[in-house]
């Protein structure tokens, strides 16, 4: 690679990092949750708590998303579907587990029909505890994830 190409590459990498940390596009997946966490995520995106000021936009397709927000204890039936969605996301991709069911199975821990948390199925980057977590807690978790992304993406 010539130095001009290298310089262009590093500029593009910086632009990409800037774009990903300043405007992470999100896909939300419910793997068997009671919908409590889903309602709180929806509330966080509305203008009152406004996750959109961080550039977070809810997408309809995993192929357009940087971050997967996953709720629910991952039922055995949802497991295959969750893996399929995770594999459709282009790299670099990040997973946030929202709510105590997604962390460890929550109230259903030990149940015969659940995997017991999102990290039993796919690797997770951030955990947001709560049942359900308040929108403030969700914002805190997302901001912490974005702050941790900056050094990681600059490598």
């Amino acid at each position: 690679m010539t130095t001009l190409q290298e310089r262009w590459q590093s500029v593009m990498d910086e632009v990409r990092t800037w774009a990903r940390t300043n405007s992470p596009w999100v896909i939300h997946f419910n793997s068997g949750s009671c919908n409590g966490c889903d309602i709180e995520i929806l509330a966080t995106i509305t203008p009152r708590y406004d996750l959109e000021r961080f550039g977070v936009k809810l997408q309809g397709s995993p192929r357009h998303a940087d971050v997967l927000l996953c709720t629910g204890p991952v039922t055995r039936q949802a497991r295959e579907r969750l893996i399929r969605i995770y594999e459709q996301m282009p790299e670099p991709r990040f997973v946030v587990a929202v709510g105590s069911c997604a962390l460890s199975g929550g109230a259903f821990q030990g149940g015969y029909n659940i995997m017991g948390g999102v990290d039993q199925v796919i690797p997770v980057d951030a955990y947001i505890p709560g049942c359900p977590p308040r929108p403030e807690a969700i914002i805190d978790g997302v901001v912490k994830l974005l702050q941790s992304l900056q050094p990681a993406l600059e490598d």
């Binding site: 055995r76 594999e87 796919i122």
Partner: protein, 161 residues
């Protein structure tokens, strides 16, 4: 028809039956009809429907344990605030019961759930596949029986990414 009327009518109707029954009132708004012969179930359900004693609200099951050697299937009919339950005992070794979908088409999801959770063979179901259990569930493993061992599922599905 309100709760007391429904219960009174149910007691009258069930009392007039010639099949072997035992009537128990465990709570104020409930009437349990224990049917001694499982084969009387369809006829009893038809009678309950004919007298407009309620809609089939749920079909549940009880595992009475390995020593008792029996499973119990309960058919709950609700009318106003009253719950009228038909209870039948089935042998644990080969629990077979005829389907009610000919009389009550809405019984299908309950019967499929009963068959996959307790292992009761419901004869006459048009689609006897798993309803709630996943496709890769091991055969002959019934989660709601008392002798279900969750260790059977270890190694069934592991992290793959």
């Amino acid at each position: 028809m309100d709760t007391t009327e429904a219960l009174a009518l149910a007691k009258e109707v069930a009392g007039a039956w010639t099949w072997e029954t035992e009537l128990v009132e465990p709570e104020e708004n409930r009437l349990d009809i224990h049917l001694k012969n499982a084969g009387d179930l369809a006829a009893a359900a038809t009678e309950i429907q004919a007298n407009r004693l309620g809609y089939l609200a749920a079909i549940t099951g009880i595992d009475l344990g390995a020593e008792a050697g029996e499973l119990e299937a309960l058919y709950h009919f609700c009318q106003a605030g009253a719950v009228i339950t038909l209870r039948i005992r089935l042998p644990r070794e080969n629990p077979v019961v005829a389907t009610l979908t000919g009389i009550i088409p809405g019984a299908e999801p309950f019967e499929r759930e009963l068959s996959e959770m307790f292992g009761v063979t419901v004869e006459g179901l048009r689609a006897p596949n798993h309803l709630y259990l996943p496709e890769d569930w091991p055969d002959e493993v019934f989660p709601q029986r008392k002798d279900f061992d969750p260790a059977v599922l270890d190694g069934e599905a592991e992290r793959s990414v």
